[in-house]
């Protein structure tokens, strides 16, 4: 299956790229996606995730064609 993975803000800079396209068979959850793109790291607790532009949790399922995003806590424009 194919999954588009996007990164935002400080995470985007840390990853050194804005997105990945994953083509793999052994991916069932958001957590699995992170493990692949981070080469084996567990999903950091403070990182937020979205599947198809809706907030998601680490154990939420992903399926072929999904867009998964990872990003740091949101900060809005207001202080």
């Amino acid at each position: 299956m194919t999954i588009r993975v996007r990164y935002f803000a400080s995470l985007r800079e840390k990853m050194g790229r804005i997105e990945d396209t994953l083509v793999a068979e052994d991916i069932a959850t958001v957590s699995d996606v992170w493990r692949v793109v981070s080469t084996g790291q567990p999903l950091p607790e403070q990182l937020l995730c979205a599947v198809n532009m809706e907030y998601a949790k680490a154990m939420d399922p992903v399926k072929d064609g999904d867009e998964v995003a990872f990003f740091p806590p949101v900060t809005g424009g207001l202080e």
């Binding site: 996007r6 935002f8 803000a9 949101v74 900060t75 809005g76 424009g77």
Partner: protein, 144 residues
């Protein structure tokens, strides 16, 4: 109900005025209360002079989340209309960052809904702020 993102400077009071004349024309005489919040960029944050900031967002998800926030408020209070504008991209001190305007029959629900929308927006809408200060740039960490 209208939510929009804006990449360039906007005039919040001209926007509200124009919106009310268009979107609320049919509801003249019906709304008794309007609560408006305008967030403006300050030139000081965390003790440092800030010369500009860049607001990154997630095209698609940010608009969707803003729409959900307005829908949730709509289902919780009796709102006649809601208008939200949020800046993205490069923002200078004294520029308007966000405008929230809520029209209702009575003032309680106008204040409550406006406050609720701005808090939800601040804590759940995908925006990330990078500030330019004397020593360079920094991502601003989340604060409650």
């Amino acid at each position: 109900m209208t939510v929009k993102l804006c990449e360039t400077e906007f005039k919040p009071y001209a926007e509200v005025d124009a919106y009310q004349h268009q979107a609320l024309r049919e509801k003249e005489g019906e709304f008794g209360a309007t609560s408006i919040f305008v967030g403006t960029m300050r030139d000081l944050n965390l003790g440092d002079a800030v010369t500009q900031m860049t607001l990154e967002y997630y095209p698609g998800m940010t608009e969707r989340r803003l729409g959900q926030i307005v829908d949730e408020a709509q289902s919780r209070w009796n709102l006649l209309d809601v208008f939200v504008i949020h800046r993205v991209g490069v923002i200078k001190p004294n520029d308007t960052i966000v405008l929230v305007a809520v029209w209702t029959q009575h003032r309680d629900e106008a204040f409550a809904a406006c406050r609720h929308i701005i808090e939800e927006l601040k804590h759940t809408a995908p925006f990330w702020k990078k500030e330019t200060i004397k020593d360079g740039e920094r991502w601003v960490e989340s604060t409650i």
